[in-house]
Point group: D2
């Protein structure tokens, strides 16, 4: 993982990065893959005496528990709804030993980068905070008020759900799915607090478009929505619009169906968005597929896979939010010289 353009003199330690990698790593609980990867990071450049240098930060995490032989069958057979076929069709070649670039291991780089971005933003906007949580697993919903969720509560259960009451059913569902050689998906919800007003750009760099792109670039994602999202199409304009009012000298909205973004630019309210993760493609059941020799066959997944990616997706979603916001905050500072309400009266 390489980050370029990071501001200088931001306090940053290996532990800042490692602690986020630990939230993502396999084997952390009984409902995720049992792979024993410690995902230990080494900082190769960009940090000096506990501070960023302003020059590229390079971080290396080696795969210690690779088992290429577990993938022998995939050398020939395409896993359904995985990237084996599309990679081979695109490139005419494919590293079948572990999934290569299509392995969810690539999200290590995102989490490491997100940890750096988080520290950068924290220096500029101390109150800044991102909390993601599992909103649903299949049909088990764990509804919460985004503005009330506390990070400690989310980290307190192995599902990373925000509503403790849903946790037991979710754990049971995931365990049952695994025992059946099946898998399950769900929705991660994320709230960004104290994002400064004025972040994002019209047309080409809309904040919600950038978040959509970041989230939809994650493995297994099928949908993204911000604020009222798809449900918002059921409302009329009169019901949907967020009226403005004053809170002291601060412009606020009385509701937040905009999800904190208006015209592609943050309005100072909580950013709230949701990401749909499909059920894990690799399942321990026999499925119809074809080979690279164009012969029809069957394939049964093997190896050590997550029956549900949601708990481990939470820190990844947060990391992507940090990365998007960090870029946009620095761009705003570059273009305008200020961050926050730049109105004459402000």
């Amino acid at each position: 993982m390489v980050i370029d353009g990071c501001p200088p003199r931001v306090p940053l330690s290996r532990e800042d990065i490692q602690s986020e990698l630990d939230r993502r790593r396999p084997g952390q609980s009984e409902i995720v893959t049992p792979r024993d990867e410690e995902d230990r990071c080494e900082i190769l450049s960009g940090i000096f005496e506990g501070q960023t240098l302003g020059t590229p930060i390079s971080v290396l995490v080696r795969n210690k528990d690779a088992r290429p032989e577990a993938y022998n069958e995939m050398a020939e057979k395409y896993r359904p709804s995985h990237a084996d076929y599309t990679y081979e069709a695109k490139y005419g070649i494919r590293n079948w030993q572990g999934g290569g670039r299509a392995s969810a291991r690539e999200t290590i780089g995102r989490v490491a980068g997100g940890a750096v971005a988080n520290r950068v933003i924290a220096q500029v906007v101390p109150a800044y905070e991102v909390v993601a949580y599992v909103r649903s697993i299949r049909d088990i919903d764990a509804p919460v008020e985004p503005d009330k969720v506390r990070k400690s509560l989310v980290e307190d259960n192995i599902v990373r759900a925000a509503d403790p009451e849903a946790v037991e059913a979710m754990v049971d569902l995931v365990k049952r799915m695994r025992s059946e050689g099946n898998s399950v998906g769900g929705v991660v919800e994320c709230v960004v607090r104290n994002c400064p007003v004025g972040i994002g750009s019209p047309v080409f760099g809309k904040l919600d478009a950038l978040l959509a792109s970041a989230m939809m670039s994650l493995p297994a994602t099928k949908g993204f929505e911000v604020g009222s999202g798809f449900a918002g199409t059921m409302l009329t304009g009169r019901e949907h619009n967020d009226p403005f009012h004053m809170e002291g000298s601060r412009v606020r909205t009385s509701s937040n169906r905009s999800g904190g973004v208006q015209g592609g630019i943050s309005n100072g309210e909580d950013l709230v968005f949701r990401v749909a993760f499909k059920p894990t493609a690799t399942i321990m059941s026999s499925q119809k597929t074809v080979t690279s020799e164009n012969e029809e066959t069957e394939l049964k997944g093997r190896g050590r896979h997550d029956p549900c990616v949601l708990p481990r997706a939470v820190p990844i979603v947060e990391a992507m939010a940090h990365l998007v916001l960090c870029d946009q905050i620095l761009l705003q500072r570059g273009q305008s010289g200020v961050i926050g309400d730049g109105r004459k009266g402000a």
Copy 2:
């Protein structure tokens, strides 16, 4: 609108662009804004004797029916759920005469660019086709099989719905909303046919992430989903995976919950995605808001606005799909020298 990097020797006329602009333009039917803009385009560069030159194509459309005085009230008051406040907070200045950069007029450039991109792709992939249509307006659904929709059917009604049976109810709803000074949103669905296999990139340029970003950069969008989308989270892996089979020498999937993308790369099946558009923010009803002097007030929309953006959004969604796919197809050609199935056996 400026397009750089367009391949040379692509047949392209002013009419190719104008005909798409005409699908987007105001005043085209009784359920859209009555503004009388002909949106006539002038090609300034990049075309010579009916063909692209390979150098930048510049297209100019002048606003003939601007009425700045209709916006006088907005010089002071922020329209709820519009970009007035966020622009002013971001930039410390705002062109209040018509919405400036936040006006949906900016989508003219997208449609013009999309028309060019469409011609470029058509030269490389003759069977390529994009069809978007209004899938729902508020709670009126017009469900169709994406692989069965024909463009002529969509263009045959003023809503641009794919199911003719829903049209009357939709028209009635929009008219009622307008008469009440209210507005309404909905969902546009889009299918891309004959997209070559192998388009898109792992991690940073996933095809679905790029489509998400393109669609979420459109005015009034709140959500994006591809294939099974949010509903896919209700399925198990066994139900969700798309089995492979052979169709002659071609690898096909028996279902298309992937929406034509696997691992960020097209698999040769139809690309299918949906975009949620919120109800138009500008309504002809009094709403609470504040002024740029931080005083609470009320504002009632005036002017000539769409009570529902969906019918005019259809060509815009198609244009953005063309733009994303054109870029990715050219990138694939640059990196690999071929477009289509690059497997050894293919």
Copy 3:
């Protein structure tokens, strides 16, 4: 010409841009092309009530005095050392009516953009100033101390030389060349004053590399050097190094062979660089060439061309310097939040 990313609330008028275009325009003196183009600019977007909006600034200049018929012969014949052959080989098509994209008219966009960039920098660094001047035409040198050149002196003669004593010989040379149907080149030198320390980046965005790229992208350029340049290779390290000393609390160098850049980053001294312009390719003499049908033939230039591009190149070189520096200054502000000496003691 479109500029994106411009800071908001920068005072900017049409005249700010026009006055620079007037320095570049044809027909301004007896030693440049007599083409009668007024190069009048129209601002299409991005300015409101005399200030930049922060959104894209679009400027249009129409060619009023085009004479396509003067180029009829070039439809078939490639002009030697011009871009006719390379464009046709690259694109398989070519707009032969006036040179198309390879016409020096494209520098209008650079000059207009540079005028904007200059205003942006001036707001952040009021003392900032760029002065370019003709250092030599063929073998007539007009040597000056870069730190002593005043802009008014340069603008005071039609050559834009900094040494008044060389002007007469230069004018005579250019006139003689034109009368002989020949052309001549030379060197433009440029000094940037009060560039803040710390501008530019290591490795990928070195300030001198960016300036080199900007200048070598100008038509007819064949060389770039900064500070001691090629002559610096004749010195030993002991002779070449610039010793540091203190001037009050400011770190200065006692000489400036570095040309204001060390390790790709400005050191606060004057930026000094030189650009070599070849003699104009279009000459009014018969030359050997070939046709697009691969037949050998001869071609004699016609039309209204500069026998020497140097006088008109001066504002273009300045404009490119503004554009490079503006980008880098804003990037520095974005990354570090400050512009200027960021050392702890400073």
Copy 4:
């Protein structure tokens, strides 16, 4: 070093990269730094069974012979004409232990990347070849006809000069400079053979501008020129223009003062350019300087530095040429679908 966008199925081994690193590495002869770094590279990703995968190639080279203590004095004192002061002013922090990002060690990444780019081009254009060589060291010139230089001849002497007769004097000069604690610079000339016609773009991506940027981004460079360069300003247009003629069905120029580029696009002739390298800044003699506490002082270089960077610069210049050309060749393939003469008659 990370390369993204590399075509798939290009044969590539660790040795392909290592052999180029060996040409750059310290300690290879008696006239370069005696540092004992083996610069052994490890390929982390992107290669599978001897071929590129099309996904990012990551290469790691660890510094085995670092001696931070040799830099203790530089923790406080700025080395003249080095980047100590500019980095500290820019970032407010500086890694003084070995030069950090400003160390010429960063060119390892360029050479490794260039080796990959070379293989990519070779697959598309088998006859492609780049040969760089030391053209001069201080006032000792080693003139050659660029089209006659053979790589084996250059590699046959420790200076990497193309004229064997100049080698002895050059070696003597470098040794004398080192014994005097002094340093010396010079000029590297480079010729690119069989670059396809049509590479590079008008205005923004001119091939010569990209080469200029690439070369001027190298440590210690002060100048770049292509073809006739600065000397070309001494010619008239009639003398300077390169007449076209036919060579069979191929368009050729009778001279090559253009240096293989016309209008920013390659014309199929040899690309020829020169790069000026200043004398090494670190010398073993006492020089005036200041400290980070703004106190005037003196500094005498220590450590193991090159008295002349030219011999080791040769593979670096070649690598940068490969990188620029590889990008542009792939872009041309992407935009036009063909590489080479795309004229109708061709």
